[in-house]
Subunit: 478 residues, 4 copies
Amino acid sequence: MELDTGTDYVLDRQREECGVFGVYNNEDDIDVARTTYYGLYSLQHRGQESAGIAVNDEGTIVFHKDMGLVNEVFNDVVINHLKGKIAIGHVRYSTTGASLSYNAQPMVVNYRVGQMALAHNGNLVNSKALRDEMESSGAIFQSTNDTEIIVNLISRTRISSKNIEKTLEKVMGKIKGSYAIVMITPRRLIGMRDPFGIRPLCIGKIGKSYLLASESCALDTIGAKFIRDVNPGEIVLIGKDGLNSIQAKVQGDSRLCIFEFVYFARPDSYIDGTSVHQARVEAGRQLYREHPVEADMVIGVPDGGLDAALGYSRESGIPYGHGLLRNRYVGRTFIQPSQDQRESGVKIKFNPMRSEISDKRVVMIDDSIVRGTTTRKIVQMFKEAGAREVHMRISSPPYKYPCHFGIDTPSTKQLVASNYSIDRISDIIGADSLGYLSLDGLLKAPSGCKSGFCTACFNERYPMVVPMEGNKMACSTR
Amino acid sequence: MELDTGTDYVLDRQREECGVFGVYNNEDDIDVARTTYYGLYSLQHRGQESAGIAVNDEGTIVFHKDMGLVNEVFNDVVINHLKGKIAIGHVRYSTTGASLSYNAQPMVVNYRVGQMALAHNGNLVNSKALRDEMESSGAIFQSTNDTEIIVNLISRTRISSKNIEKTLEKVMGKIKGSYAIVMITPRRLIGMRDPFGIRPLCIGKIGKSYLLASESCALDTIGAKFIRDVNPGEIVLIGKDGLNSIQAKVQGDSRLCIFEFVYFARPDSYIDGTSVHQARVEAGRQLYREHPVEADMVIGVPDGGLDAALGYSRESGIPYGHGLLRNRYVGRTFIQPSQDQRESGVKIKFNPMRSEISDKRVVMIDDSIVRGTTTRKIVQMFKEAGAREVHMRISSPPYKYPCHFGIDTPSTKQLVASNYSIDRISDIIGADSLGYLSLDGLLKAPSGCKSGFCTACFNERYPMVVPMEGNKMACSTR
Amino acid sequence: MELDTGTDYVLDRQREECGVFGVYNNEDDIDVARTTYYGLYSLQHRGQESAGIAVNDEGTIVFHKDMGLVNEVFNDVVINHLKGKIAIGHVRYSTTGASLSYNAQPMVVNYRVGQMALAHNGNLVNSKALRDEMESSGAIFQSTNDTEIIVNLISRTRISSKNIEKTLEKVMGKIKGSYAIVMITPRRLIGMRDPFGIRPLCIGKIGKSYLLASESCALDTIGAKFIRDVNPGEIVLIGKDGLNSIQAKVQGDSRLCIFEFVYFARPDSYIDGTSVHQARVEAGRQLYREHPVEADMVIGVPDGGLDAALGYSRESGIPYGHGLLRNRYVGRTFIQPSQDQRESGVKIKFNPMRSEISDKRVVMIDDSIVRGTTTRKIVQMFKEAGAREVHMRISSPPYKYPCHFGIDTPSTKQLVASNYSIDRISDIIGADSLGYLSLDGLLKAPSGCKSGFCTACFNERYPMVVPMEGNKMACSTR
Amino acid sequence: MELDTGTDYVLDRQREECGVFGVYNNEDDIDVARTTYYGLYSLQHRGQESAGIAVNDEGTIVFHKDMGLVNEVFNDVVINHLKGKIAIGHVRYSTTGASLSYNAQPMVVNYRVGQMALAHNGNLVNSKALRDEMESSGAIFQSTNDTEIIVNLISRTRISSKNIEKTLEKVMGKIKGSYAIVMITPRRLIGMRDPFGIRPLCIGKIGKSYLLASESCALDTIGAKFIRDVNPGEIVLIGKDGLNSIQAKVQGDSRLCIFEFVYFARPDSYIDGTSVHQARVEAGRQLYREHPVEADMVIGVPDGGLDAALGYSRESGIPYGHGLLRNRYVGRTFIQPSQDQRESGVKIKFNPMRSEISDKRVVMIDDSIVRGTTTRKIVQMFKEAGAREVHMRISSPPYKYPCHFGIDTPSTKQLVASNYSIDRISDIIGADSLGYLSLDGLLKAPSGCKSGFCTACFNERYPMVVPMEGNKMACSTR
């Protein structure tokens, strides 16, 4: 995925969402906070702004959350204070603004039947309506989080519901949008995935103990067995008696976010039955079939383009190469180069591998083009480093429409594919040719995937009506 | 006031409450955040755990709050971001526990008619009942603050009320306890004092702009004119049209906390018409009248006993002396001495002035005795430093009963006066004699004070019924 | 002492120097680092910029030093790492500049015979010459500290000396200026005071273990017995065999800095045989004898003027009062008021006690006037608060000449007494009258003091020739 | 290179050295501090413990250095304070110990002819002798750095030398070991490389301005032109008049550290004329020639084994795959898993890509094996993930002997190849086969390299006599 923005030359924020994790220790010898720590660490790619863990200690929920990476927010002292039987955790993507720490998750509250902690990944599209409705009967909101809305809704719905199961069914009927929720009640760990299954959530097991995680790589990391994905519209309740499931009636197909396969998820994860890595390799193969070219070397833009580059190479027989070095020591603060320095060719994040590409015809693979600025810069670097030709191939269709389900998209004005033809984009980025994978081609890539897909960013087919809520930004976890 | 506790040898927390401040800039050229900063700084003695400022910027409330002293929490960059026309601020007393920053004030919320920010000093005695009632209809609580209860109650009451005035009148009818509240609505600064006037709150003016403050010293600090105290049971609403007042019907006399005069308030403040310094000097004079003694020197325990020592000296003609040095460089962390070191006589906080007291008969004045441990230590230091006699005089009656209105009192088990006779206490602390000011004597000290007093900690006459709420500690601002 | 400067309205730096402390655990059960911690804490008034402790652990010296107050720089973890038998510590006064932490003391080095740690209070006047000489033979300097010069000189002199005793005697012959040094060698704790005894240093004892400290209050704090002052020109070496002393030949009288009695030292300290508190009270008495006035109240400016005010009151019979409140919650950062706010009368640091001074004729006592700005401001506050007359009395002579022995003095251009007559100063500060204590009067105050005094800041009689070293500021510990 | 150690399960320190950078702005418009910042950032892989920059501002050297990554140590405010014409910078590898910040570089000192700043990469083998000699004449040392020794030596030698050129020639005659030095004098930027050229150093140019850097990737990053490597035994002096060179007489061949090609250097760098990436690819090709195997997939251990894996794949025709995911969000603190968790298979740093390797015969390529623990763990992961066979291939010979020239090697007891035969190692790590590249094969890889190589870690042929200095650890930059 392309990286740079005008304002942030170096620390481009990859398109992030959030990651959630949960564990219920059922008579095993699991340190739930420590396990959640490693789980979140393996989901760190989904959100790098804040991290939090809440633990149910015999009915009392203790928690710690703050801005920063998982290993910055937690240390041994903190983890050792988080003792208990059930834990949930959250990593959050990056935003800007005041009093940000108030937006960190999980959210922990007292309500009528005790304490609850909740964390979620996704974005509600009817949050304003829900908020207005609850404010009309006197609710207050301390943040602009969707989380606070969901928690309030659960608390209010609980009053008139027989139990938490009924409560959550009703809540699922009210909230519209994408969500993968993990939640602690006084005695249970609960997971919940929206009826379209837009955001992923899966179930793992160690001994008799269950776990929930946004991606299966978190289960691998902590040595848990992958059991299955939570189904779209499913509520799973994990307690002393094991796992119970409630399946909401679901209208139509599931619509997993296709970008999980294109870019978000870690390649070693499996989502809804399919290997992310394999899907990307397959997309690369299909990309060659659709847009072949004669060349000497296939090079992926790290990290998003690497797997598809492998597929392109395998299908075409063109050698796979390491042609672009990425400096990984980027932290949260980084001094931006001056305009002079930019023009004089500062190459802070990427540097081409001259010896690998000199005098070669190169196929360069990336997962997507957003604004086009980074792609243009990389093509130019390659030309200056001696590449004879640079053929750009993108392992997804042109990215044209804003996401309302958890991806922080720039406005369509900034999306180069919303504004220009493919030929024109090819000119803009200075490539010798440009080819995008077709949507059909992309949809074939996650072969064996049980899920249908949300492809709205490519074809504007949103899985549900998105109310035009004035001042609401379309982004995740708010 | 006596200082030490068993667990915290050095950093004894003086008995603190909270301090509140507010300012409405009415066409004057006031930087409201900066003014609140200095206001809070002058109220720092009322709370040293956390500090916060919220500013109404054309209807949007921005805020910053964190753990620490005012000058640690705020800097120029932060203050410069807090632009607006109305500001409130809060300093909070010290507690311990997890996730403390979530208890910092002011609390800022969205509710049906916009945003509100609220900060308060005091303690509700029916908070559990209020919370239960609201939870029954679905409310959630993110903290254990009284503040969150009040804010929820305002939000819910507002639904069925014509305007904020009616809302607050109704809320005042529901909440029981002590409170001095400052509050920002979209267009106004509001102040509110409980019907007994237990906690102080006063009004100041600069040009056409009004201010609210827990103590008048905050008005002096920022160069404002003292106008008057907010009356018990009064709601003052400050807006473009100046100050409007609503006076609730009040049952019985006002009951200002007598400990504001004994210990809490800064001596340069005036509360309900009376100088705190003068009241303390007068208490000292009266203390001599009640408990005269022949001696060579009168010495006050810094800082609580200094003014009364002056009064005792003036009334008795016994010279006033500086006999006890207090080291003031105590911060929030301090390494505790080992048991060995304690026994070997480490004198970290106080050191007697040998040259002043050697071979003298000393009258030592303190404002109160709580546990007795510090007093005993000081008496012993004096004896070791050569004092021939040490006569302890306390400028308030024996402190016997817990406060439910904002003072963090130890359990009666730890209150020495709840457990022992005066003679026995004299023995315990090792003094040659001990005299407490009578309650009558104390009540005469704030001469000219318009207010009646709450003296429950001396005579158990609480101004209202205090429900026995199980796990609720009787302390302020929760 | 007067406090404000133009640029720093609030956080005026009191004139500070440095404080040193040392302890040798001789078969007693002393935690030397912890003891040094409390010792430094009681010397904190001598320096608030940085703190450091070095400990000799069986020949290896470990240390920790950083910017900040003692309780900010050290915590339990750090202190517990500083295990050993001998420790020295240092607190440093405030300066500004880059890479400041490199100036923190003690300085710890390897040299020919092992490791040494050294800390000092004072100022060399021939440091440039010494540095030039050593640089000529190849020495390098990593700081602009006098400490580094002394350490280098010791190391070089040691080469051609039989032992450390001879070495230090020679070094004492070479360095000119003021110094009170504490030092650790592989097996001993060493103290050293300049031949004029300009800076104080005293010896204490616990069991068989010896201690060194800038002021006796540090001995009180840790429960040690005061033994005696280190003599001018004396080197004391403390080891397994107890304390050994070498007395250098000294020319002429000792010349203790008179300002230790006027302002620097903590009032509960004894220096060279005399109580600081008593000396200040006596100066106040003498001040009345020299400059009597009819008045209703004597008020000291906290904290420097309080003891002298007591003396003035006792001698005159005019009642002593608490008329000026000082806000003590000032930390290292503080937001400065705007020009507008200053003019509108912001009273951040001091507030007059209206009830105490209203309609009264007040004698106000301070220890000195430096620039005159703070004094003017306080006089004005008093007038506005209703004082009928304000008679300023200063418990030392006009402060006219720069110090070259450890006090960070402003340039003579800024010293009001260097530029104006006393009458004119009285006008400038707006007082009804102004009286300075005579030098003779001041010298009589520390009655029984075994020492002569350096009074150069009053009469320009420096105890030694001060070379005009171009760019060297006359300040301590450099 | 293998990563884990027993004590540090996750945050294995890659074998690091240091990186140096320098720039002289000769009438160009270069912000030297900012340029150094980006230069250091691109050398961050050489050292992650501390970072520092010193700038010559008209003869005065200002500097900033601290523990942390480049982007943690510096921010805009700091960089903007570092104004001047000449700058040097340093990144330092990770160690542990007390008062670490005192070891950060560059070192800045005053000496006879003004100020000097110096930073270096490498390790002296005669530092103890040099230190002893200088201590004998009175020198003191504040650290255990080689840097401080070099700086002292320069200062002392300068006394008896005509100019800095002669000084440095003499110093080069005295110091034994590896070093790549950058240095600022009052008017020049100086670079110096040891006579064997063990550590790399190269020269770049922007306009008329010269730069020095440990690796050419730093020149690319800031848009500078690579000019040439500094020769072994060469001193380059860069001033107003451009670049001047002094070539010391050199005995025998150059001996560049072969591990720069095996592991240290960034693959996009060129060292002594050869592309690091190409050398690694070539080593991989040769590795196949020496140790062919039938397999389905070649997989490199990130990041050290990736380039050689590419070579192995290209030479063998076996497909290249992405089979091992490396989590890159590792910071300076990370909570270690419990023993239980380790045994239950926590995979914090690496996770195999099941879909890629399942049921496959895998050739796994790494750059070296040190202890063997990580390799064993990875092989086991692969087997558990379904790999049918795992053939380990190492792109360098068995690593058997400690380095004394800058690599922090574990003791030979911990080096698996020092203790076991290759067959035995294969068993220990659980591989189906194991092959190491021969030394001859490795030496052929950097084809066209002008340099000879130090291969002592493989064959114990140290380029010079290494004195057995008792307590001196053989590691870099001390």
